[in-house]
């Protein structure tokens, strides 16, 4: 069990998402930064789909009631176990009674706590993720609060000290596709153009690519609202509602884009100009409010290359993790 000693708002229990229930209107939910939770689970030898805690505000403090292997991934936070510093993207072991503190990030926006055995809340509709709209899943279908006690699943094997670290994806998967004129404090993400791209004026299409869109303070797990000179429609249509997914960039009549995120509706009717490719969704998840985004067009085949690069990074982490844990199992000090 883990006690939530102290927690900033907007932390929740999430796994890799809920499927296949889109046809009942049930969104994927799940972590915003899929690579970060996946990495935490891989480092701990967990099944990929076990749940962890997503943190979007800081500081957060957890007390381990039993000795527990843990990993903190995602944003580059200052992390301490009691008073000892823990490096970001590190998997280690906490003894019973120790307190883990995760403070505000210097880099990125969302941090993840994974534990060996996973956060063992009930599986509802195939997932442990919190579904806020339906108020189910996760821990009692809601955001975490101080005083909550989270069950941890059983696990075999333990990590010997000192544990091991992973190279974070922003180092392993650099944004070498970013435009040359990328401004500071701006995240570049790759997109495929979407069905209604042609509905926009040519000038607005150009401006969509050239603008550093500011992520509004009204952004959250459901969607990122972007601020910038509104895009103009060459033709206005009342769309028939259709399926939408995280990454879709819609343009409502106001002309300022909205990117759908993990808690997105499963269907919508605003024209969509583009879709952020899945292997770049973690970049969005780590873009702080108030920072800017640049959209970079990509061909489908290049999107597939990006998918494989992310998979290769996970596979290499899986090998490293397997080696470290087999050394621990043989009793040799790694």
């Amino acid at each position: 069990m883990i006690e939530v000693v102290d927690i900033a708002p907007l932390a929740s229990v999430q796994d890799l998402g809920r499927a296949p229930y889109l046809r009942y209107g049930v969104s994927y939910s799940g972590v915003m930064d899929r690579l970060a939770l996946l990495a935490g689970n891989v480092m701990l030898g967990n099944a990929d789909d076990l749940a962890g805690v997503e943190m979007q505000a800081f500081p957060c403090r957890f007390r381990f009631r039993e000795a527990t292997d843990f990993a903190v991934t995602g944003a580059g936070c200052t992390v301490t176990l009691d008073d000892a510093p823990v490096l970001p993207w590190w998997a280690g072991r906490a003894e019973a009674g120790q307190v883990l503190t995760i403070a505000a990030p210097r880099r990125g926006a969302r941090a993840y706590l994974a534990v060996a055995g996973g956060i063992d809340v009930p599986v509802i509709l195939n997932s442990r993720s919190t579904q806020f709209r339906g108020a189910f899943g996760g821990h009692e279908g809601r955001w975490l609060q101080a005083g909550d006690v989270l069950p941890v699943g059983t696990t075999e094997g333990t990590l010997a000290a000192p544990g091991f670290g992973a190279q974070p994806p922003d180092a392993a998967l650099p944004a070498d596709f970013a435009p040359d004129d990328l401004q500071p404090n701006t995240t570049a993400v790759r997109v495929l153009t979407a069905g209604e791209y042609e509905l926009f004026t040519e000038e607005s299409q150009q401006r969509f690519w050239a603008t550093g869109w500011k992520i509004s303070g009204q952004s959250n797990r459901a969607g990122f609202r972007l601020l910038g000179q509104p895009l103009d429609f060459a033709k206005r249509l009342e769309m028939r509602s259709h399926g939408i997914v995280p990454g879709i960039v819609q343009v409502p009549p106001s002309g300022e884009p909205i990117i759908q995120m993990s808690d997105a509706h499963t269907a919508g009717g605003y024209p969509k100009i583009a879709t952020v490719i899945e292997p770049d969704l973690w970049r969005l998840a780590q873009a702080p409010l108030g920072s800017r985004l640049r959209f970079v067009p990509v061909a489908y085949k290049d999107a597939l290359v990006a998918v494989r690069q992310a998979e290769a990074w996970v596979a290499s982490l899986r090998r490293l993790s397997g080696q470290y844990r087999s050394l621990c199992a043989t009793g040799r000090r790694p």
Partner: protein, 223 residues
């Protein structure tokens, strides 16, 4: 003025690398929607398809892994659409009591003004519309309804509002709707039902399914 995005040819587009949208050509009507239900059943059985989620004369496919050759899937989809006959399954008839107007339906008067009709007439046209569940989607249990009387069609709002209660009955363009859970909505709110529209502990979790016939009944009208 509402302009429906009617297509002359089927349209297939990738949404990222693991989702694909098929949009049927032609009218927004029940015959086309029944063909979508048939197509949904067919494609659900295709290898690699995790789920097919039908919506309004369109269906979204989700894949376990990114398809290597989306063009080939596009060809297969168009071929499957061309031979898809309208689904003939009889839906259940579900009576839905609604309180119209007041805090339950704050947009009743705006809808009436847009339709240039008295609010009582809007309620009458809504309850007398033969509404069929075209799709379940958007948020848990939410239904999209076809068969709305076009005289009370009304564009979605420019800016969505924050909190529609569960059971909110609304109008979005040519479509009717009924919400399953609390949350934001850009549609025009006409009233509210007290029926439980969604329950995650049931399988299936949604009260209504595509093809069900909804009969709205005015339990109360607040003017």
């Amino acid at each position: 003025m509402l302009v429906d995005n009617q297509l002359t040819q089927p349209r297939v587009s990738m949404l990222g690398t693991t989702h694909l949208l098929f949009e049927a050509p032609g009218d927004f009507d029940l015959t086309n929607q029944r063909r979508i239900w048939t197509l949904t059943r067919v494609v659900s059985a295709w290898p690699g398809v995790r789920e097919a989620a039908p919506c309004m004369t369109n269906v979204m496919l989700t894949f376990d892994t990114p398809p290597e050759d989306p063009d080939r899937i596009e060809e297969q989809l168009v071929a499957a659409w061309n031979v898809a006959e309208p689904d003939q399954t009889e839906g259940r008839v579900v009576d839905v009591p609604v309180i119209y107007g007041g805090e339950y339906g704050p947009d009743l008067h705006e809808i009436a003004a847009h339709a240039k009709l008295p609010p009582e007439e809007v309620v009458r046209l809504h309850t007398e519309s033969r509404m069929i569940v075209f799709a379940v989607g958007s948020h848990p249990g939410n239904v999209y309804l076809g068969g709305l009387d076009p005289r009370i069609a009304m564009p979605r709002r420019k800016v969505p509002r924050i909190r529609a209660e569960a059971g909110t009955v609304s109008i979005g363009g040519f479509q009717g709707g009924m919400g399953g859970t609390v949350g934001p909505s850009g549609w025009n709110w006409l009233g509210r039902t007290t029926l439980p529209v969604f329950d995650p502990h049931q399988d299936p979790p949604a009260l209504l399914a595509p093809g069900d016939i909804v009969r709205f009944r005015a339990e109360r009208v607040i003017l």
